[in-house]
Amino acid sequence: MRVFQRTIAGIKFGILSPEQIREMSVAKIVTPDTYDEDGYPIEGGLMDPKLGVVDPGLRCKTCGARAGECPGHFGRIELARPVIHVGYAKHIARILKIICRECSRIKLPQEKIDEFRKRIKNARKIGKDEEVIIDELYNQAKQVKVCPHCGAEQGEIKFEKPTTYLENGRKLTPSDVRERLEKITDEDAEALGFDVEVARPEYMVLTVLPVPPVTVRPSIILESGERSEDDLTHKLVDIIRINQRLQENIEAGAPQIIIEDLWELLQYHVTTYFNNEVAGIPPARHRSGRPLKTLAQRLKGKEGRFRGNLSGKRVNFSARTVISPDPNISINEVGVPIEVARELTVPVRVTPYNIDYLRKLVKNGAHKYPGANYVERPDGSKIRLDKAKSVEKALKELDVGYIVHRHLQDGDIVLFNRQPSLHRMSIMAHEVRVMPGKTFRLNLCVCPPYNADFDGDEMNLHAIQGEEARAEARMLMRVQDQILSPRFGGPIIGGIHDHISGAYLFTKKETKFRREEALQLLYIAKMYDEIKKLLKEKSEDGYYTGKQIFSLILPEDLNLRYKAKVCKKCETCLEEDCPYDAFVVIKNGKLIKGVMDEKSFGAFAGELLDRIVKDYGTDKAREFLDKITRLVIAFISKRGFTTGIDDEDLPEEAKQRINEILTKAEEEVQNVIEMYEQGLLEPLPGRTLEETLEMRIMQILSEARDKSGQIANEYLEKIEERGKLNGARIMAISGARGSLLNLTQMAACVGQQSVRGERIKRGYSGRTLPHFKKGDIGAKAKGFVKSSYKSGLSPTEFFFHAMGGREGLVDTAVRTSQSGYMQRRLINALQDLKVEYDNTVRDARYVIVAFKHGEDGADPARTDWGKTVNVKKVIEKVISKRG
């Protein structure tokens, strides 16, 4: 096979000239009828066989090709009178306003015209927008009252949408318009931005209408055997009918009014043929009252040709099903149901080296799992392996050079995607792991980049069909290569929920394991090498600490120090001697101090994970994540972990203290209100007195809530120290799920409810609810919820809470639709930008947009949380290596 290579240098758009239209036309269409009584297309009708074939079995009268091969051929309608092309109506109006009504020259002195021509030429050369220059010319010429060339007095041109032009209130017919446009000299046309080689101004007024081939507007045959024509055909029939009548009337010498009426009607039909949603005229309708879908409607909008068929093509070799979690597979893998694996195929070329293997697959056929669905001959024809007979045939034939479309197998690279695809980590390459069951399985660590959960989410999988694509996917798109997010230069793939709380409990000081327990854990986690390593370590009277076991996963020469998530942010940090074990010290691959939590390997935050990826590479990082998730899940499954309403139990004393604080805050609010009423309140700079009051009240109440939260936390901590596990608190402090605020709301006080950032203010006149006195602006009356979720809300509190909650619901609903649109606009604006090898950012035309990408040339994914160089870390690394 010979390969032709051509480089597209550029694309030029022009307007079809009448001659071009006639030239490309293979048939002149004259009759509005399509088929005769026998159902055969009429010559000279809209279904003229010369226009191409759509019915299978027939041959095209022009090119002789069969349906499917023949692309179709254009015909034409010779219009009895010229007609304005709506698409150019505005353009024509602009030109009419700046050319002389007598001589059709631009109403500017010759020198000026020449100057504009030159400027446009230059702008075109350097790729600048010429529209601005034309605007300038337009603004200069439109005011001119007397033609500088012929001295003719100029009329006032008015454009009436969609296709009418008035001169001094008198209508200009399309013929008049065309005449004027024809007279424009080539030089003047250039000054108007025309490239006369491909577009002359008068081409904007149609004299011949191209008729698209039947392949563009196929008729469908209904079940009843009736033919139903395409909307375009309907519209063309209308045009021909009116055109015919117009022609006849002109020839018969009918009165001017009748001709004008018909002409107008022809203009209407041609206008709606191009665009049936033109403002100012009623859309042409189908007999049923449905507006016709004409040319512009085919292209426009979400389901139009561009967005629906070109940007959004549909693909083969893809699968979609529900996802579910599997902590036992690698983050690089995806669990694929056998049913899917049997349907999706990978093309493999037969060589002397794999022919035996492939023969086995072909022998298994399409229905037995490791099999194949098709065998493709070198000429491209395919044998489907769904029947024993065809399998036999294929086996006999199979030879080097054939292509076997074999089932998806373990280790194949596939693309995995979850919508909305908002960033590049929404599509990643996974290795296939064929499994029983009907769902796609994925490791929990990859949930964050996909933003997936398992409440019924579905994902798509694409089997890669080419070697180049496969290599690219493996090198660039594999999950492990996406651990670092280019969004913030930290890991986006990492532990979530139970991984975090599990690791926290696992690495706590108190956590110790007997030898058997430790080995069992490692065995469940499939960390066989680590078992040997552990046995070499010395145990403390037969016990291994969690930190000791955890260290087995760490690279041996890793040195790292950081503050964990559980850090209490004391005023002076004691570092290694942290009483809460919140300062992590890793020395030579041993976890000496500190607990593992969100800051160590959580998605979006993991420092330890971040260090491993950056210093040891993605292979090590993947291994680390796989092991840690298995180990920690094994541990937490064995240990057990729960949360319940008793996690928020507070002693009577705590409740009293909280109540005191809240009551005091309410009193304080009353005091401030009194101050305000007596005029003693000082307004804050830039605020009115009322705003100041509101802010003060909000501040007092939020402080009170925080304080009550602190008290609640204090007591919860005390209870925990006595040895009772408090799941809710552990999750909150380790960063696994929830926050201290959530705890506060459950245990102590829900706090102020707000709508659009303000206290509840709408409602009945002078008050929110009739439960309060008019003019009451105290805490309770404006939506402060003193109760906790656990103690239960009073009716008014409940209602205020529902108000605040409603705002949240509305917000999410409105935001999702808005963010989709924003994303679309961003993509459209940025799609062509690319960082070249010289570090410049350029657009599609190769114009430089930024001289250095990001002004520092750094790849954000490789930065340290956005910072190009983290001096502190470098120093630490050097020091630790020495010491």
């Binding site: 409602g763 929110t768 108000m803 509305v810």
Partner: protein, 497 residues
């Protein structure tokens, strides 16, 4: 906590079933409003000497007309099973009038079929005991309140609308210009007219109302309505000594000094509404417009003009007060400013349109048979399908009159609760594509009326609501009664001309 309110709640719900509002509303429609729609027409006048006087309208009980033409009592279950419509025949009393002489009255002209709401007074299930209900195939716990059209159960969803005939103050921002506007949706019968009084930046007051191109200065309109002297205009707007308000009014009076009399004002109005016509026609048209399109809820007769002027004065005062900061804009989401349109109201709209098209058709039929030299009879000129099909089509597709869609919905039978919830649904006509944050909020005035929790997530959030359990509907009181009571209490009526 000690008080057990459960028995109370149970007793409460037993006494007032969950879909009472719809059934009551439909009953009211059948018993009163149907007749008033007929009375609006009164006599069908034709271009030939054969008119028809309309009398009492009566609704029968649901029945089915079989293929052989026999009629049989229809129960809902049979309608559901056989894909029939649960419709009852409507009979109208008609009297032909020839040469001014009334002919023989036909008290039972069938003019079409009316969809019957289950468990309403004209429903065959009305008043049946549980055992009887079971005997005719009904679930005794089924709440009713829906229709059956072509075998499918259709709910007319309650629509939440801005209250008509109520002045609402707004401060709209148009092209960064802030003005003060008092709006009122004046409603009379099926006609809704938006009348506004607007104060521009210079403090001048203008009125707009339907069929008036642009606007007209308030002062001039007042004069056209018969309040001629400056003092009367001031009094009509505000009986106050407040200098600020008086100044505002005086500015208006002084600006439009050229037109001082009623005649001049009418001429001014005529030039606006019928430019380029003859003078007599202009004046006629002007009179017609102020009577028919300006505040029609106050009446459409000449005598009502003074009341309209006073009403406009009241609107103007509010606008002035708003501009002077003595008053605040009205909260459109306040439930006092909302009205719920139930099944009966919606059926009224639909029936009115269908009935008018029937009347038009009758007129056409009468004229046609007279032209053809045949003697029309009241039975022959009524083509009952016109009314029936118009109503059936609207109910079956949800495409209501006025271009509203989704008014009738297929009853959600997922569970018993979804049925009840669907029958108690309230939708706002606001578009779901725009944010409308305020309208979606839970408003404190919804307490006790609308459920604070039940609203869908997504684009309809806060626009689709459900009634609170204890919500009760008031159906309005007749104006005469209120007027009578007020006068008894010492309110002085505005003098009529």
């Amino acid at each position: 906590m000690g008080l057990n309110l459960r028995p109370l709640a149970i007793a409460f719900l037993k006494k007032r079933e969950l879909v009472r509002q719809h059934i009551d509303s439909f009953n009211d429609f059948v018993e009163n409003r149907l007749q008033s729609i007929v009375d609006e027409v009164g006599i069908i006048e034709t271009d030939v000497d054969y008119h028809i006087k309309l009398g009492k309208i009566r609704v029968g009980y649901p029945e089915v007309i079989e293929a052989d033409g026999s009629r049989k009592k229809l129960y809902p279950m049979e309608a559901r099973m056989r894909n029939l419509s649960y419709f009852a025949p409507i009979y109208l009393e008609m009297t032909p009038i020839r040469e001014g002489i009334e002919g023989e009255t036909d008290p039972n002209v069938p003019i079409g079929m009316l969809p019957v709401m289950l468990k309403s007074k004209v429903c065959n299930l009305y008043g049946l005991s549980d055992e009887e209900l079971m005997r005719v195939g009904e679930d005794p716990l089924d709440p009713g309140g829906y229709f059956i059209v072509n075998g499918s159960e259709r709910v007319l969803v309650t629509i939440e609308d801005l209250a008509p005939n109520k002045i609402i103050l707004e401060r709209p921002e148009r092209y960064s210009k802030i003005t003060e506007v008092a709006k009122v949706f004046s409603k009379r019968g099926g006609f809704r007219a938006l009348v506004t009084v607007e104060r521009d930046r210079e403090g001048l007051l203008y009125v707009t109302f339907p069929s008036l191109p642009g606007n007209i200065p308030l002062v001039i309109l007042m004069r056209a309505l018969g309040i001629e002297t400056d003092q009367d205009i001031v009094n009509a707007i505000a009986l106050t000594q407040d200098q600020e308000i008086l100044n505002e009014i005086l500015v208006n009076i002084e600006t439009f000094m050229d037109i001082r009399t009623k005649e001049q004002a009418m001429e001014y109005l005529g030039k606006k509404v019928a430019a380029g016509q003859l003078k007599e026609y202009r004046l006629k048209r002007a009179e017609q417009i102020i009577d028919k399109y300006l505040l029609p809820h106050l009446g459409t007769e000449k005598e009502d003009r003074i009341r309209k002027a006073k009403y406009l004065g009241r609107m103007a005062l509010r606008v002035i007060e708003l501009a002077l900061g003595k008053r605040d804009v009205d909260d459109k989401d306040h439930y006092a400013n909302k009205r719920l349109r139930l099944a009966g109201d919606l059926m009224e709209d639909l029936f009115r349109v269908a009935f008018y098209s029937l009347v038009r058709d009758i007129k056409y039929q009468v004229e046609r048979s007279v032209v053809r030299g045949r003697e029309p009879t009241v039975r022959n000129v009524v083509r009952s399908d016109i009314l029936t099909e118009r109503i059936r089509h609207a109910l079956a597709t949800g495409n209501w009159v006025g271009g509203r869609t989704g008014v009738s919905q297929l009853l959600d039978r997922t569970t018993y609760m979804s049925v009840v919830s669907h029958l108690r649904r309230v939708v706002s006509p606001l578009s779901r594509s725009q944010p409308h944050f305020e309208a979606r909020d839970l408003h404190p005035t919804q307490w006790g009326r609308i459920c604070p929790n039940e609203t869908p997530e997504g684009p309809n959030c806060g626009l689709v609501k459900n009634l609170a359990l204890a919500c009760k509907f008031s159906t309005g009181t007749s104006e005469e009664e209120v007027e009578k009571l007020l006068i008894e209490l010492g309110v002085r009526p505005i003098g009529r001309l």
